[in-house]
Structure formats: structure tokens, C-alpha cells
């Protein structure tokens, strides 16, 4: 059906930026207007992006957990079962369970031996780079929400 959700979002953002924000009087109202424009920019295409993003992140987290468990040996932590429910909610629950398991693995590594000041469990488990990459992708997902406004990107 037309207009699509994204076409409506773009239309709302255009009116917000061209018609409403210039009329706003106070600094606070202008700041909120600018934040609204950012939110709308983020929402464009999110419904399509989010399931793929979460599925990709979950696959990456499963790999991280497998790597951590291989390093932990006998102290390996339980890997969560695949989501029982299909769809976004199932992906979210699985994501939460995987993050919990990886946290447990980090604590298990700490319990395995002596650690000095310049010594970290994620490094010993060999999962640091993967976790940093996951965090970087998370930050990218939330673009352009942030403290700086990159300027409008009209379609």
C-alpha cells in the first residue's frame, strides 16, 4: 500500500525540518525538534533492518560463545537453546540469553586463575576482537541517533 511506512516517515520529517523547526521559539523546543528529525531518520527502514541485524548479531555471539567455551574447557558454560519463537521477539530473547552466557564465560575465566592488572579474561578467551566488533556494529545500528546531527539526507 502506498504511501509506505517509510514514505510517510520521510514526509513527516520533511515537514518537521522545513516547516515546524524554523518556527520553534525556545532552545529547548528546537533541541527536541532536531532530536525528532534524528529519530525519524533512524526509523526509515528499521522494520526491515532490525531482524537481519539481530540474526547477524546472534550468529556472531554464538561464535563468540563457542570460542570462549573451547578456551574454558571443563569450565565451559551452557549455550542457550535456539529461540523457540520465530520472529523479532524470539531473536531478542536469544540475543539476551547469549549475552548472559558470554558474561558467565568471562566470569568463569576469571575464576580459572590468577589475573594481574594488565590481564583480561576476554583476551585469554580470545574473544576481545569479536566483542569489540559487535559493539561497533551496535553503535552503527543506532545511527544517526547521537549527540551530533549529521545534516539532513533527503530522498
Amino acid at each position: 500500500m502506498r504511501p509506505t511506512s517509510d514514505e510517510l516517515i520521510v514526509g513527516i520529517r520533511n515537514v518537521l525540518e522545513d516547516v515546524l523547526i524554523p518556527e520553534l521559539q525556545s532552545d529547548w523546543a528546537q533541541a527536541m525538534g532536531t532530536q525528532m528529525a534524528l529519530m525519524l531518520q533512524h526509523l526509515e527502514g528499521r522494520a526491515d533492518r532490525e531482524p537481519d541485524f539481530l540474526a547477524g548479531e546472534n550468529a556472531k555471539l554464538e561464535g563468540v560463545l563457542a570460542k570462549a567455551n573451547a578456551a574454558l574447557g571443563d569450565d565451559a558454560v551452557a549455550a542457550p537453546a535456539p529461540p523457540a519463537e520465530a520472529g523479532l521477539e524470539g531473536l531478542r530473547e536469544h540475543n539476551e540469553a547469549l549475552r548472559q552466557a558470554i558474561t558467565d564465560a568471562i566470569h568463569a575465566a576469571y575464576e580459572q586463575g590468577e589475573y594481574g592488572f594488565h590481564d583480561l579474561p576476554a583476551d585469554r578467551l580470545g574473544i576481545t576482537e569479536d566483542l569489540m566488533e559487535i559493539a561497533t556494529r551496535q553503535a552503527e545500528f543506532w545511527q544517526p541517533i547521537g549527540f551530533t546531527y549529521p545534516g539532513r539526507q533527503r530522498r
Binding site: S26, D27, W28, A31, M32, Q35, M36, L38, M39, N95, E96, R99, Q100, I102, T103, I106, H107, Y110, Y115, F117, H118, D119, L120, P121, A122, D123, T128, L131, M132, A135, T136, Q138, A139, W142, I145, G146, F147
Partner: protein, 326 residues
Amino acid sequence: MPYQPEVRKDDAAAFLSDALGKPVQVVELKRLASGQSRETLVVKTDQPDEAELVFRIEQGGVLGTSSEPEFKLLQALHGGPVPVPKPRWLVEDPQWFGYPFMVTERVEGDGSFGYLAEPEKAQTILRTYIKSIGEMHRYSCEELGLHELGIPKDTRQSTLEQLDLWTDRYERYRYVREPLLEEAIAWLRRNIPEPKRPVRLNHGDLSAGNFILHEGKIMAHVDWEWSNLGDPMEDVAFFAYIKGRMFGPPEPILDLLREVEEFEIGGDELLYWEIFNYFKAACANIATLKVFNEGRNYGLNMVAIGTGGFLGFTRRTAEALRTASG
């Protein structure tokens, strides 16, 4: 309640009439756009003998703090060597603004930081501010009259208390676990620096916007909601690595701080507090997301802080930890 200037004017007038026991009109009310954790209103009344007032209204747990400890600290500090605004009322009753709030008298001067656009002026103000930070850390908690607030026995105990406090906020406000931050929490608990100096007053949020300047003098330190009695290295690292970046890179700021502080600044200890402060900022930022999602505050800046801000500080925490391990 959303912020609506005319409604706020009526609310403030109703509260002041009740508090002062006579009819009070608000002739001017201005919301400060800066400041994320409180709705901050500057209020001028029709009362000739009444100072301009600053209302700081909680926003449903934004940045994970409440007004009471800050108000009690201001009561203890006011009139002493560390300049602060005069506290007037602490109000827990949500009937006036929907949330608890505190009121102080407005201090003459300017709390904005437009001077940052003028590098020479900014450096002069930076030196003045850093001198006042050194003075703040020089007084014992007893000299500042803070004994009733409960002084930790040493900096190890105070650091542990701060870790508990911020970890609790992370646990209360997070949606999912962030393994990189969880690793940092475990690391911070295992590597608390040995006590080397007395417990001191930490402002907790030293920043270009958190002091009032008048004719080149610091008239008051404001926004004490992250304050604590602890290791003053927390303040040093916070300012140098986080908010001081508004003035410039950390190293020159650390050099200035070394000139005014009575303790050695550097080494693993400084690195520890750099990591602690990134962790603290991440925990504070995640709190905003839940208060937004639960409708307790729907300022859209809450989303920016709770996503981009939280992730940014999580990454900085992890990167600084990698410095520690490298």
C-alpha cells in the same frame, strides 16, 4: 508531565505561594537547555526581597540520581570554603511538578560556556577552574562539615561503594547484558587502588557547565548529584578524560591538575580511574533509556544518551581496558 512553560509558571507560583505562605507570582521562567538529568528552571518572582531561584526537577531517574543527597550536601557546604548555591527547599511530594525537586538561590554570574569559542579566554577560565578544583580537594571532610554524611574509612571502601552504586544502576536500567562492560566491572573490583591519600569531597561531574563564573571568579560549583566522599583521583580523571575535553586534550589538563593537587597523578592508578569514569558514564547513560521507554520522561535527548551515549562510553571503557592489558 511534559515541559510546558505556562503550566510550569503556574506550578512554580503555586509551590512558592505555599512555601512562603503568601501569594507569589512568577514574572519570568526560563528553562535551561543544558543539563540532562534535571529539568532546570530559573525563576524570577514578584517578591522584591526574594532572590532569583533555580528549580531542579528530577526526571524519573534520569542518570540514576535523586535530589536528597545533593540537597544535604549543599546544606553542609553552604557558607564554607567550597562555594555552592544556597539551598532553600527539598520537596519529595510530586504534586507540584510530577517529580521530587530541589530549589536553590540563583548565584550571580554565568554558568554557560560560550567562552569555549574563544581559546585564550577559555584557557584562562580553565586555569581558574582547575585552581578551584585543587582547593576543593585540599579540605578534609571534617573541615567541610561533612561528618554527618558518613565518611568512608578509606579510599578503598569509598571506591567499592561507588562501584556498588554504579553497578546497581546498570543492573536496574539495562535491557541486556553488555559483556564488555561486565568485564570492566569485574576488572574494576579486582584492581581497586590501595589507599594512598585521605578521603576527600569529589564533585563527580566537573564540567564547563557546572560552575558559575562572575568577573573571573568561581562563584559556585553546581550540579552535585554525582558527588561522593572518596578518592579525589576520580575527579581528576573524570575532568581530564571526559568533560575537560571541551577545553582540550587530557595531557595539558593533567599537567595543570598536577600543579594544584597535593598528590601524584599518573601511572596505573590514573588509568584505573580513567576506566572507572568511562564505566560510570556508561551506567549513567543507560538509565535514560528505561525512563524514556516507561514514559517517565519523554525528552527525545534521553534516547540519544541511552543509545549513542551508552555505547560510546562502553566502547571507551573497553578500549581503555585494552590499554591496561596492552
